[in-house]
């Protein structure tokens, strides 16, 4: 008997029996786990849970252990796939048994829908793997190339179904994405279009929260300052979080023009003008519904976690949120030592005042806005800019002063250093009778709807309606 022949039984032991034992053991563990989880989910299990004897944690542990053991069994069984059908049968059976274990796990986690989805995905992989292993080499390679085409086809569709600047995405990729590839690409997180820094690199967006407490005090939370982060990656994560809010709806000029009227009137009352010389479509940016949902969640988080500095038990009353675009400094300005953090490089958009439970505050709390359909400043840019101190400068250097409407809108300044900037114009509120004296219709009356020339089509007070 040669050494090779003597070694045969031990080889059979390691290549066949080993994986089989592992896979059957995994099946047993998973079945036991499944039983315990189902018991825990039954009425009797609920009774046990009340006595802190729930079998579910043990069941979950057994299922997870079973999956790990099954993974080991499949790995062991499949690592050598022979050329003959006989040599391929056992590896295929291992794949199939692995799929069975995944199926049991999917059943066990049926109450946890997303994990059940993961395990169903594993079942599919196991079954496809078993078929691939069974196929002769030529057919297997063809099948693999077909799967490869499907895979990269999906990535192509994800890439080309992304919106293009000022246009619709291509029809076929969009349709293919929706109908064919969506489940696969979402499951595998392969939806990125790889359009990095295109069409062009833009400025970063920040989120500034002004948390107002029940005692009338307030504090700011700014997402995100480098100094607040332990490392650069943490900072990048938060930057991505603020960038997520910068997804805006397409511009509807008619809607913006209508909203601009009330914005102007409210601005006249509060001394918060529109941004000078900027297009209205740039000044009004309504976020997409998805971004609004995220904003609500952010507001709830801030309400829960940003405590009053002196009296932490003081409840939060409202949270004003601003999306602040930090523009990139122009090279010409930097050449003359302008600061990249100059206040005028910040473009805040008011994205809502929220209650602690994440709902937009009812704008009709302000009697002036009772007839309006939304807060007149909502989604509008609140300008922070510099302008000549003297309206008619005669030669020489024009001295610029900072017009910080953000502090005016929020109630206080988000950046204490801005307070040291030169005084802004019209610090005092407008006198009540100023417009009458000047013969200009009073914007307060127009907002209330008292004026004879109804600006709002006689819609009346929506609260009264």
């Amino acid at each position: 008997m040669t050494d090779e022949e003597r070694a045969k039984p031990s080889r059979v032991l390691t290549t066949v029996l080993g994986p089989l034992v592992l896979l059957l053991g995994a099946g047993g563990l998973t079945t036991a786990g499944l039983g315990l989880i189902k018991l825990g989910e039954s009425a009797y299990g609920q009774t046990l849970a009340e006595r802190n004897l729930s079998p579910i944690p043990l069941g979950i542990s057994l299922v997870v252990l079973g999956l790990l053991v099954a993974g080991g069994g499949v790995w062991w069984g499949v690592h050598k796939v022979g050329d003959t059908l006989y040599d391929r049968l056992f590896p295929a059976a291992c794949c199939f048994l692995g799929a069975v274990v995944a199926l049991l796990s999917a059943w066990a986690f049926s109450a946890w829908g997303s994990l059940s989805l993961l395990f169903r995905g594993m079942v599919l992989v196991g079954c496809v793997g078993a078929v691939l292993v069974l196929l002769p080499t030529i057919l297997r390679r063809l099948a693999i190339l077909f799967l490869l085409l499907l895979h990269f086809g999906g990535i192509w569709m994800a890439s080309t179904s992304a919106p293009v600047p000022s246009g619709q995405p291509a029809w076929i990729p969009s349709a293919m994405w929706t109908v064919c590839y969506r489940p696969y690409l979402c499951f595998m997180y392969l939806n990125n279009a790889y359009h990095f820094y295109s069409p062009e690199p833009g400025p970063a967006n920040l989120l500034w929260f002004r948390v107002e407490y029940a005692d009338g005090s307030a504090r700011w939370l700014k997402l995100i300052d480098r100094e607040d982060c332990a490392c650069r990656l943490q900072y990048q994560r938060y930057l991505a979080m603020t960038e997520m809010i910068n997804q805006n709806q397409p511009t509807n000029m008619q809607k913006i023009a209508a909203l601009a009227d009330t914005r102007r009137l409210a601005g006249e009352v509060d001394n918060i003008p529109l941004y000078p010389d900027a297009d209205l479509t740039i000044q009004y940016r309504e976020p997409l519904p998805l971004a609004k949902v995220y904003l609500q969640s952010y507001a709830r988080y801030v309400a829960r976690t940003v405590k009053h500095l002196e009296k932490p038990e003081t409840p939060v009353k409202f949270i004003k949120v601003y999306r602040v675009t930090h523009d990139i400094i122009r090279a010409g300005d930097l050449a003359y030592h302008a600061s990249p953090t100059d206040p005028a490089l910040y473009y805040p958009y008011f994205v809502g005042e929220f209650t602690p439970d994440g709902q937009l505050r009812d704008h009709r709390d302000n009697p002036l806005y009772e007839r309006l359909t939304q807060d007149p400043y909502l989604y509008w840019m609140i300008p922070v800019f510099r302008r000549p101190k003297s309206p008619n400068p005669i030669g020489g250097t024009v001295q610029l002063e900072l017009v910080d409407c953000l502090s005016r809108h929020a109630g206080d300044s988000p950046v204490p250093e801005w307070k040291n900037a030169p005084p802004t114009f019209h610090q005092d509120p407008l006198p009540d009778d100023l417009n009458e004296r000047l013969g200009v219709p009073d914007p307060r009356k127009q907002l209330r709807g008292d004026a004879k020339d109804k600006q709002f089509g006689g819609a009346g007070n929506p609260r009264k309606n």
């Binding site: 293009v164 990139i328 930097l334």
Partner: protein
């Protein structure tokens, strides 16, 4: 007695064909010729170290990002993944509003969707980090690679607002490493294999070239080329890439660039004060980026220009890492670029790096005896 020919042998010895047959043979060689798994071992270690670091950083904000009361709370994430609707593709020129959505919900999954207990979240986080550490070391790599991918996806899907390009690249690498024999070399698995062989008095098994190694390296290469191609093409839509000012948008973006560093700020001021130099830098940067991204997918396959393309990609990502602060993203991209580096180059590199380890009892190579080749794992050539 003659050894039966394998399919690879048949393919290798087939006569030169033309036309369709040539194409099929070329595809077969391209995807299915056995290759040395060493590059995959190196890629596994780089990826493993990076994912370990990336997920370790989650520890700072674990509950804020993964907890049920986090920035994106449970109610919000459940609403988004379960209730988001998708409209059917418009099959006509006229829009017809339909009340019935074509599909509802995303096919996303995450362990953290279902964990609400703080201690459970922390426990799972620690276990996931452990799995990633084992994957990096190459222990039970076939299993720990899948567990690490599941772990990584659990973070990605639970905190969708914190994602950026880095997560995409990390995912791509992990998907391909799951199907690759990345634990065949430079791993604890390999060490155990050698140890087991020695214990049984057998010769240390060589690291065999494998079809799956070549196949997964090809997948990585194709995917990388696709990423560059789309990134390059999409940049052509932007005016800033045509008037060569886009580079300034990346260099002077206060929130990304290290403008809070005195010397960097001073450099930018100096550059701006020299207009012609500023224009040269911006123009050169834009042209380099666009040309590289568009031509890399073609020229990297040409032997004469491959190293130029690889060096260009490394240079580009070093710049992105340093100037835009996206260090982890850049390192992951460079890890993907490693798939283009020939195995022979890796051999000499690993030989040089592991010289000290081989003299000491080396954990990477087992403990080769005097009679055996000093470095059996490195004898396999593609």
């Amino acid at each position: 007695m003659t050894t039966p020919l394998t399919d690879n042998d048949r393919v290798a010895t087939a006569p030169q064909a033309t036309g369709l047959l040539w194409f099929i043979q070329a595809c077969n060689r391209f995807f299915f010729a056995p290759a040395d798994p060493l590059p995959l071992g190196v890629i596994r270690i780089c990826t493993g170290l990076l994912i370990l670091y990336i997920h370790l950083v989650y520890s700072f904000d674990l509950l804020a990002l993964m907890g049920p009361q986090g920035w994106v709370d449970k109610a919000t994430i459940d609403h988004l993944r379960l209730d988001t609707t998708f409209a059917a593709p418009q099959a006509d020129w006229w829009y017809e509003a339909s009340n019935e959505p074509y599909a509802v919900g995303y096919q996303t999954w995450s362990v953290y969707f279902h964990l609400t207990d703080t201690s459970a979240i922390i426990t799972v986080h620690v276990l996931f980090l452990l799995a990633m550490a084992l994957f990096t070391a190459g222990f039970a790599t076939r299993v720990t690679s899948v567990v690490s991918w599941i772990a990584m996806m659990s973070y990605i899907q639970r905190a969708p607002t914190t994602l950026f390009g880095m997560d995409t690249m990390m995912n791509i690498l992990m998907i391909y490493l799951m199907i690759a024999p990345c634990g065949a070399t430079l791993s604890v698995d390999r060490w155990l294999q050698c140890w087991w062989a020695r214990r049984r008095g057998e010769q240390m098994p060589p690291v065999e070239p494998s079809v799956s190694a070549n196949f997964t390296l090809r997948l990585m290469q194709i995917h990388f080329c696709f990423i560059y191609m789309m990134a390059g093409w999409s940049k052509l839509q932007g005016s800033a890439w045509w008037n060569y000012t886009a580079m300034w948008g990346t260099m002077a973006n206060y929130e990304f660039a290290p403008m809070n560093w005195g010397f960097y700020h001073a450099f930018l001021v100096w550059l701006c004060q020299h207009r012609i130099l500023w224009e040269l830098v911006c123009t050169g940067g834009c042209l380099f980026t666009i040309m590289l991204e568009i031509y890399f997918p073609v020229l990297v396959w040409v032997k004469q220009t491959r190293w130029l393309m690889i060096a260009g990609a490394v240079l580009l990502h070093t710049g992105i890492g340093l100037i835009m602060g996206l260090a982890t993203f850049s390192l992951l991209m460079m890890t993907l670029v490693l798939s283009f580096v020939p195995a022979e180059t890796m051999h000499s590199l690993v030989d040089r790096l592991s010289g000290g380890l081989r003299r000491a009892p080396g954990i990477l190579y087992g403990k080769p005896s005097e009679a055996e080749p000093a470095n059996p794992m490195l004898t396999a050539q593609s």
